[in-house]
Subunit: 191 residues, 2 copies
Amino acid sequence: MDALKQRIQKDGKILNGDILKVDSFLNHQIDVAFLNDIGAAFKERFKDCEVTKILTIEASGIAVGYATSQFFNNCPIVFAKKGSASNMSEDAYHAPLHSYTRGADFVISVSKKYLSKDDKILIVDDFLANGEALKALLSVVRQAGCQLVGCGIVIEKAYQPGGDMIRKQGVRVESLARIAAMSVENGIEFC
Amino acid sequence: MDALKQRIQKDGKILNGDILKVDSFLNHQIDVAFLNDIGAAFKERFKDCEVTKILTIEASGIAVGYATSQFFNNCPIVFAKKGSASNMSEDAYHAPLHSYTRGADFVISVSKKYLSKDDKILIVDDFLANGEALKALLSVVRQAGCQLVGCGIVIEKAYQPGGDMIRKQGVRVESLARIAAMSVENGIEFC
């Protein structure tokens, strides 16, 4: 998605330690018109998939999910909650999540009521790097026995192992911008 | 908003300890078409206010913000992040937040870059009870010197003190459903 690559080049900030900040439009301040275009781009890629539900994870996945749902007949969004192991309950599917950004371990939870075997799930998220969040969401989808249509990612750090690891499992992963390399000195290079 | 009251009566679950669960449509699974109607209801109430930015708080405020922005010319949303005192930085406005639901103390953060004195801010959130989240967001707006248009709340527990406390400060608070009383035995009574 060229408009996205241009926006990342224009507004993205690279910080020490491999962090790409895009909080001016994606995950702190949200440019709604632009996210609507992102939703349309996911629709284009998954248009024949009869998606019935969008699954994402709090917090920054929610706006991406909302933008996308509108192009899939306003299908429901379910967002996984991040908590600790002490929040686990029998009414929910759980999966472990290690956050490299925060250096902490979480457990994600999705209520069993909101995923059914008949659902065709599109997972969306803002970032894919080590693939921890996606792995946890995929575990939830498998536990629920839903059909997985694929994963729509806004920005993939393709030089990190998550995307390849998950594609090798036979999961369809569509990333709108794939970063091949990134550094404070040389900026961003897309695949 | 009658459709909201009906939806709360139909799908809301009252749990011990004064908790109203509306996670089938508002804050875990999201009914996008219904939230769009909620956005339209806020537009109706704040239509003459020239809102330039919507401020909310992660996680469940984000979908409400997205729904609402679309009726205010897709104006940007900024969502406050919840963290601990150790996450504080000079680049952000901060305010303390006590969560009664979680029994924990947080600090909310909003980057200084995304609020300007020229902004006319509409705050939105899913719930108003003790008013802790709203108080923290109002503190951020004051620190930034923005003009506050008002607060749009989906569900207010009017029998708790938050709404009155904030209205007494001269802040306009518009709640789409106001609960006068609620119990497992007697169900929900709206104002």
